[in-house]
């Protein structure tokens, strides 16, 4: 193989070096270097051909001259979008707890109390619907453990004004509406309709809570 693959240019060059004298000669750089293009069959071309043939033989596909249909399996590594149900459930639960706290603080303001009572009723209905959806799609044994009740904080905080309470609830409505609207995009059709409906309800809450 060495005899076949050895480039002709290399042999010629070696012979030429010996002819002019490799050591002690000042003119060895004047030896004309022949172009590799003059080689009839280079080592690189030979190895490329061998390698390509072996690749086609091993894989058994990608033959450009074959008329047989080829099958390509593409595996996507992108993770599936996370269903936002549990996040929205937690958000609703948190906002409902804040409304409950606000109902206690706003008791002295009948108008604010009336608005907050209506909103609490809607948010409680949302929470019940979301919990029913969770219960519908999860097995009874996989329910989360109930956290033990914690002691109420004993620190005394000043009672906020009614306007501040309504402003806080309004901010929660804006947050929740955005979350529910975003959640419509990455869930099933039934849940999308539920989330969209709750998002629309929160839009009406914003209208009611807007300071006049």
């Amino acid at each position: 193989m060495d005899r076949v693959c050895r480039p002709l240019v290399e042999r010629q060059r070696t012979a030429q070096l010996f002819r002019v004298g490799y050591r002690g000669s000042n003119a060895w750089n004047d030896v004309r270097v022949q172009s590799p293009a003059s080689s009839p069959f280079g080592r690189r071309a030979f190895l490329t051909g061998i390698g390509g043939t072996a690749l086609v033989a091993v894989t058994g596909c990608a033959n450009p001259f074959s008329s047989a249909p080829t099958t390509r399996t593409v595996t996507s590594d992108a993770p599936r979008p996370v269903d936002p149900l549990m996040t929205l459930l937690a958000t609703t639960r948190l906002h409902l707890a804040r409304i409950d706290t606000g109902l206690i603080d706003i008791a002295a303001d009948p108008a604010g109390l009336a608005i907050l009572t209506l909103i609490r009723s809607d948010r409680a209905a949302h929470l019940a619907a979301l919990e029913a959806e969770v219960a519908r799609t999860t097995s009874p044994t996989s329910g989360s453990a109930v956290a033990p009740p914690t002691a109420a904080p004993t620190a005394t905080v000043p009672t906020p004004a009614a306007a501040d309470i309504l402003s806080l609830v309004l901010g929660d409505c804006v947050t929740a509406q955005t979350q529910f609207r975003d959640g419509v995009q990455s869930t099933s059709r039934y849940r999308a309709a539920l989330f969209g409906s709750i998002s629309a309800c929160l839009a009406t809450h914003r209208l009611v809570l807007q300071p006049s």
């Binding site: 209506l118 909103i119 009723s121 809607d122 209905a125 949302h126 619907a129 609207r181 419509v184 995009q185 059709r189 039934y190 999308a192 309709a193 539920l194 969209g196 409906s197 709750i198 998002s199 629309a200 309800c201 839009a203 009406t204 809450h205 209208l207 009611v208």
Partner: protein, 191 residues
């Protein structure tokens, strides 16, 4: 719910010049064909739901024109003008979506049977307006639950929210008539 007084007409039998004002004939302007490239495919059941929502929008526009002849309260007049324009925008968007998937959008009817008798008392106009907005919320919620298309879902959620807000706004005008202006699940058949 507002129901058309006449039988639904076949879309192909209606002359093109009877199209609602402000709407170009489908497929003749770039805007009506623009959604096809960006929206993506829409399921047949979603197109059917979209047609129902569009029919509700037609009814709402017609009804606002009707109550505008009775309700002379200045705030209500302004409200009617604003809300009519919002419904026109939603209707045109719906028509573009349907024509974008080579569908034929339903057309408005000549007249509709009203569920509330409208008199010179503005409260009757407001009650009717709240009913037609409720009809629209039902149509758009149905659209959301009929499709996996992200663009259509977003469009329907926006339309659903707008109708729910308008419905609440009408109820807020007469708190004595409707003590609770809120609906926990707008568009749901059983609130």
């Amino acid at each position: 719910m507002t129901t058309p007084l006449t039988e639904p007409t076949a879309p192909g039998t209606v002359p093109a010049q009877t199209a609602p004002a402000g709407t170009a004939p489908p497929g003749t302007d770039p805007a009506s064909t623009a959604p096809a490239a960006s929206v993506g495919p829409i399921e047949p059941e979603a197109v059917a739901a979209l047609q129902q929502a569009l029919a509700a929008e037609h009814a709402a526009i017609w009804t606002y024109g009707y109550i505008g002849a009775f309700d002379k309260d200045q705030l209500d007049v302004n409200r009617i003008a604003t809300y009519t324009q919002q419904h026109v925008v939603t209707r045109d968007g719906s028509i573009d979506l349907i024509t974008g998937v080579a569908g034929t959008p339903v057309r408005t009817e000549v007249a509709y049977a009203l569920p509330v008798e409208v008199t010179d008392d503005p409260s009757t106009s407001r009650a009717l307006a709240a009913v037609i907005e409720s009809d629209c919320t039902k149509g758009w919620r149905f659209v959301i639950g009929s499709t996996d298309n992200a663009f259509l879902r977003d469009f329907a959620v926006a339309a659903l929210s707008d109708s729910a807000v308008r419905q609440t706004a009408w109820k807020l005008v007469d708190p004595a008539v409707t003590p609770n202006p809120l609906v926990p699940f707008p568009g749901a058949s059983t609130p």
